[in-house]
Symmetry: C2
Subunit: 334 residues, 2 copies
Amino acid sequence: MITIRDVAKQAGVSVATVSRVLNNASCSETARLAVESAVQNLGYSPNANAQALALQNTDTLGVVVTDVTDPFFAILVKSVDQVAHEYGKTILIGIGYHNAEKERNAIETLLRKRCSCLVVHSKALTDQELINYLEQAKGMVIINRCIAGYEHRCVSLDNQRGTFLATELLIKLGHRKIGYIGSNHQINDEVERKQGYLTALQQYGLPVIENTSVQNSPDFEGGEAAMIDLLSYHSDLTAVVTYNDSMAAGALSVLTENNINVPRQFSLIGFDDMPIASHLVPKLSTIRYPIDLMATYASKLALSLINENIETPIHTQFNPTVVRRFSTDSCYQR
Amino acid sequence: MITIRDVAKQAGVSVATVSRVLNNASCSETARLAVESAVQNLGYSPNANAQALALQNTDTLGVVVTDVTDPFFAILVKSVDQVAHEYGKTILIGIGYHNAEKERNAIETLLRKRCSCLVVHSKALTDQELINYLEQAKGMVIINRCIAGYEHRCVSLDNQRGTFLATELLIKLGHRKIGYIGSNHQINDEVERKQGYLTALQQYGLPVIENTSVQNSPDFEGGEAAMIDLLSYHSDLTAVVTYNDSMAAGALSVLTENNINVPRQFSLIGFDDMPIASHLVPKLSTIRYPIDLMATYASKLALSLINENIETPIHTQFNPTVVRRFSTDSCYQR
DNA sequence: CTGTTAGCGCATTCAT
DNA sequence: ATGAATGCGCTAACAG
């Protein structure tokens, strides 16, 4: 590997001078030219590790997500990458795979690499463990989770309000027997989303009927299986609220294959508003989860935490909102 | 930040000893215990940048892709990550965004960080430019592209054969007027895939009819627009081959909304075999692109290039294969 | 088994 | 404006 020393030799200057021209510090035009041509000649590229060591600071922003193949996280990563780019940083990704040990591992790897900032999505670790990391890493921010005492370093969405809104929409459309398809992952999101559904039923005086809530894996296949279960239990449900859009897509495919027309005979509402929602037939009504905006905000927040030149973004409360498309309609008597 | 020196002091040993126990070199049990407890106490975490500098080697495997929100690349990244994990490495991601300047930038950033290996997907750079990088980076491997003279460091798929197979399937089902929906990105893949379609028509003695090939953005919306164009031009097409599954999904939604039944009245075949293919109604027939296997292979290859302890994986030729689901059927006379 | 020490490649302070 | 020297945190060679 060719180093700054090689460049200095070829340019006939000291390493200090090379460093200066590379970092746009003051130097003579002659020196600049000599160095630049040497760099060109040799194909020199500064060693980022050495720079990090000397500067006690990296240009790296770490992100930990659960699974990059989930569009939700892909959008999160992309948003962080775009902010990083804007500030001349690069991103380092850690993948947690729904597993505490791996989440921990991912965070620690990023910490060992001395990422200046961290945007972490963690569902498997305890509050206390995350607090330890937050204390250790000044530039760390938590996304999609709110930890008491660290609200200013967390950016999250009110899940419960999301499913409340979804359920309320169905109720206002005249539905009275509304099911809920949830996730079988043991994470808070599920508890909160289900609660929003229940609260809406309660608030509108609707009874909670046995076996109208089912759980499965939070993906297409899980949605299919859950919808089949629901249809097996009940012949008179007219609508369903789902944990996320993928499950809604699975549910929709089961309904379609059973010749149950959505939305004429059955209404369906998703959660997240991922691209797939507007690609289904009919286009899926859903709750928008502004993960792109939230990730953008979280990244800027993280950046501001370690660099006082970057102003702290104004704290924004992100809200779930109803996106009404064509999978929801007035209740028809089945 | 707390360093190895702090640990040494607290444990009452030298930094060398600390380094030894951390790296499982020989040392006394007493030393091991003392160091381990000091590490625990202090919450010490080794500086990966310093390690990289001292070792002249990183545990980092770089990946450059076009866009993480594209499932194809998400799967690629995930596969690389899994191999990396297996070998105790971590991954660094660069995103090229369909742009030469950004692809270059991504590769160079990864190089500056001294990634030991690189798996790069590049469509915007020239062969020559990639060759320069290949020469510079011993552990670099190209995926989804084949560069003459560097075949042993490239892993790619025969695109042309893929669409040939797709078109052939439709022909064998009796279709005679078959359209092609292509990508409007100026990359080789499109040229090759379209060529496969044309070759099949020719080989089976079918005429190439005007305006049966249209191009649009290689995503759902592009597929919709392209299908609308095709329907506007022709009332007697009975089948279409698409550039990828997303476009097929868009095309399918247009057909469905126009009450053209797939596959009874119209056959459709995609390319890539992404998860979405089996989530459509009807499930999409497509050409499997084993990007997961290819990425796994590419990662191992890259690893073997820089570490003779890792054996070079046996060179495998990856082939596109037909996955017949329910969007293709015998031709019916429209 | 263990401590001392010399780099790894770079930025930076202090002289000049 | 420039060079010599120091240190960033760690590993490994060497000596003990």
